[in-house]
């Protein structure tokens, strides 16, 4: 019987670590749903959960590459604060004077500026690590202090508010969502794309004469993926916007709310950003030379070097990418708050590292997945939100998260030893 089940999983080609993480997530969800009397697994809470996960999730995908190459980045939280402050100042104090308040280009210029600045800071740190060979731990520990200090300096500690109205949509909230119709279009498109990719991969393998999974296994995997995407879309589309928010939206347009209208949230824009980042990063990891070199260098730096890979330049690129993703996370985090404060992103470096590590990224290098890091971020956020809902004291929350982190890594080590990977 046990062998039968294992056989089915083998045929499905699902990796057991992924199943383990999904199992852990479901367990956390069910436990909290029980202790909150059914308030946890609601459209509203899962909406909030996914929005809260976005910023850390985006950074965690980059942290995978950093940790896979045996580095660490302790500066991302502080960098997020610094980039967030400069973006806040740019869109509130500089651009309105140049372009006029509420100009539609403000959010685009601000966002591009934030991503570019993050890449630049990351590349600079990566250069010190790769070319001057100062350990990443030290460089980014220094960066943590430098960028947090610099964030304060931008406005001498003043919080910048309010941010540009369009920019704020990037953080989610009542208006920063796709709404019903676009959510369905997106969900159907994503599900369709996933199925097409599976089919293409299968036919490519078959054309080389490799053994492929049985059709039923392929269909099952495809079915599960499509069901998850569409299920999430449906759930988000079943979360109604409060009447007050609907009124505000229509009032802003100078219209009155039509009789009997019920608007829903749909998929939040920051979640859309996270999904796009995840798709791009997964693609980079598995289909580009850069991604291949990241994993090769993590597995054996000397072998990578002997294969002609410029591992120093690779280090610069990895940290620049981490910086760009931190820029995106800064957009989400500041937009969500509607303001930029110099303590934005405090302790995020620990959340990001924990997400990557809980998601199966090995500090010894060479191993780690993008989906794992996002699942890790979701597990962490679920724990924190859940404990807050249940009314666990903040100090105890920290203790639980710390214990879970160590325990998760221990489980991973045991798993790896068993499977010999």
């Amino acid at each position: 019987m046990k062998n039968g089940i294992k056989n089915v999983f083998d045929k499905l080609g699902l990796d057991t670590r992924l199943l383990g993480m999904i199992g852990a997530l479901l367990l956390v969800w069910i436990v909290f749903d029980f202790y909150t009397g059914g308030r946890f697994l609601t459209a509203r809470n899962l909406f909030n959960l996914s929005v809260q996960t976005a910023s850390v999730g985006v950074m965690a995908t980059g942290m995978v590459f950093v940790i896979v190459t045996r580095h660490i980045d302790l500066s991302v939280g502080a960098m997020l604060g610094f980039v967030g402050m400069l973006m806040g100042a740019l869109q509130t104090f500089v651009l309105p004077d140049l372009l006029g308040t509420g100009h539609p280009m403000i959010w685009i210029i601000t966002a591009l500026f934030g991503i570019a600045l993050g890449s630049l800071i990351g590349a600079f740190q990566g250069w010190i690590i790769g070319y001057l060979t100062v350990p990443a731990f030290i460089v980014t520990l220094g960066g943590l202090l430098v960028w947090r200090g610099a964030a304060w300096w931008v406005t001498s500690g003043q919080t910048v508010a309010p941010l540009d109205a369009t920019f704020k949509l990037l953080g989610g909230g009542a208006e920063g969502t796709l709404g019903a119709m676009p959510s369905w279009v997106l969900g159907l498109f994503a599900a369709g794309a996933a199925l097409v990719l599976l089919a293409l991969s299968r036919s490519r393998k078959a054309s080389h004469g490799f053994v492929v999974k049985p059709v039923w296994a392929e269909l099952t995997v495809g079915g599960i993926v499509a069901a998850l995407i569409l299920g999430y879309t449906w759930l988000m589309n079943s979360y109604p916007l409060p009447k007050g928010a609907v009124k505000r939206i229509y009032a802003a347009r100078g219209e009155i709310v039509p009789e009997g209208l019920n608007l829903v949230y749909g998929i939040a824009i920051p979640v859309l950003i996270l999904l796009l980042v995840a798709a791009v990063m997964t693609f980079v990891a598995s289909r580009t030379r850069f991604g291949r070199y990241v994993y090769a260098t993590g597995g054996n730096p000397e072998a990578a070097e002997l294969s002609g890979i410029n591992t120093r330049l690779l280090t610069v690129k990895i940290f620049a990418l981490m910086g760009a993703l931190t820029g995106i996370a800064a957009i989400i985090a500041s937009a969500r708050l509607g303001s930029a404060a110099n303590d934005l992103g405090t302790l995020d470096e620990l959340r990001v590292i924990a997400a990557a590590v809980i998601g199966g990224t090995a500090l010894a290098g060479g191993v780690g997945t993008i989906y794992g890091a996002i699942l890790g971020a979701l597990i962490m956020q679920s724990l924190q939100s859940g404990m807050a809902m249940v009314g666990v004291d903040a100090p105890l929350q920290a203790i639980v998260v710390g214990v879970v982190l160590v325990f998760a890594v221990y489980i991973d080590i045991v798993y790896r030893r068993r499977t010999g990977l």
Binding site: R204, R287, G291, Y295, G299, E302, A304, E305, V367
Partner: protein, 252 residues
């Protein structure tokens, strides 16, 4: 005997130190096309260091390398590859977390028309070359950490052979192999030699050297003891060179 044709590789007056250790101390070796030159010596004699200078892993403190009589500048492994120098390192230099195909093509991935890594094409090529080199090899989708020593070695050998080397460096290629696989490597060396490839073979097995090599250079404490035509010497002569650092040419 004076060489008539220009050698494929000449390493002249090569020296390098690590800290105070003179790992390679003013050594000259050369290699002709279609020739197998054995490099012998105790552990720590400097054999690996010498060939790592040729493969671009180390930069010599001094000396020069000529390829086909022309001065070559080899500053990194990419330069060496551009001279069609392929190397099987003693440590194998495999990324343990990647599969055989990713290792075989590391640094020179096959890509699709869009420039994307084409894993399926690489696996197909890997299956093809492994079918010739080591037909028993089946673990194409496992990371190489899951392979036996012999299987790992055959991945490293496949990588060196696949890319049409003109100069092949083999640093103890049979160290982890069983007798069956060792025999296969011997046959491979003879076949590559017949194709006109020049081979530096580092080995501890005097018998292998006597059988496979045309000439042998012996090193001791970073210095070259001497280079002999294998046909002119006995096993004992070679052993004397390795152990005592005595050149048989001198005793005559």
């Amino acid at each position: 005997m004076k060489d008539i044709q220009t050698p494929l590789v000449e390493m002249k007056d090569i020296h390098i130190s690590f800290g105070g250790v003179k790992a390679v101390d003013h050594v000259d070796v050369h290699l002709h096309a279609g020739e197998v030159v054995g490099l012998l010596g105790h552990n720590g004699a400097g054999k690996s260091t010498l060939i790592k200078i040729l493969s671009g892993a180390y930069r010599a403190d001094g000396g020069e390398i000529l390829i086909n009589g022309e001065k070559a500048s080899i500053n990194n492994p990419r330069d060496a590859r551009s001279y069609n120098i392929e190397t099987i390192y003693q440590t194998l230099a495999l990324a343990d977390n990647l599969d055989a195909a990713s290792n075989l093509f590391l640094g020179r991935e096959l890509v699709t028309s869009l420039g994307l890594v084409d894993d399926d094409a690489m696996e197909a090529e890997t299956r093809r070359i492994m079918g010739r080199l080591n037909p028993n090899f089946q673990k194409f989708s496992d990371p190489v950490s899951a392979l036996s020593g012999g299987q790992r070695q055959s991945v490293a050998i496949a990588r060196a052979v696949y890319f049409n080397a003109r100069i092949l460096i083999m640093d103890e290629p049979t160290a982890a192999l069983g007798p069956q696989e060792t025999k296969m490597v011997s046959e491979l060396i003879q076949k590559l030699k017949a194709e006109g490839i020049g081979i530096f073979l580092i080995s501890h097995d005097i018998h292998d050297v006597m059988e496979l090599c045309d000439r042998a250079s012996v090193m001791k404490n970073g210095k070259l003891v001497g280079t002999v035509n294998v046909a002119d010497v006995t096993d004992d002569d070679l052993l004397a060179m390795i152990i005592l650092g005595k050149n048989p040419a001198e005793k005559r």
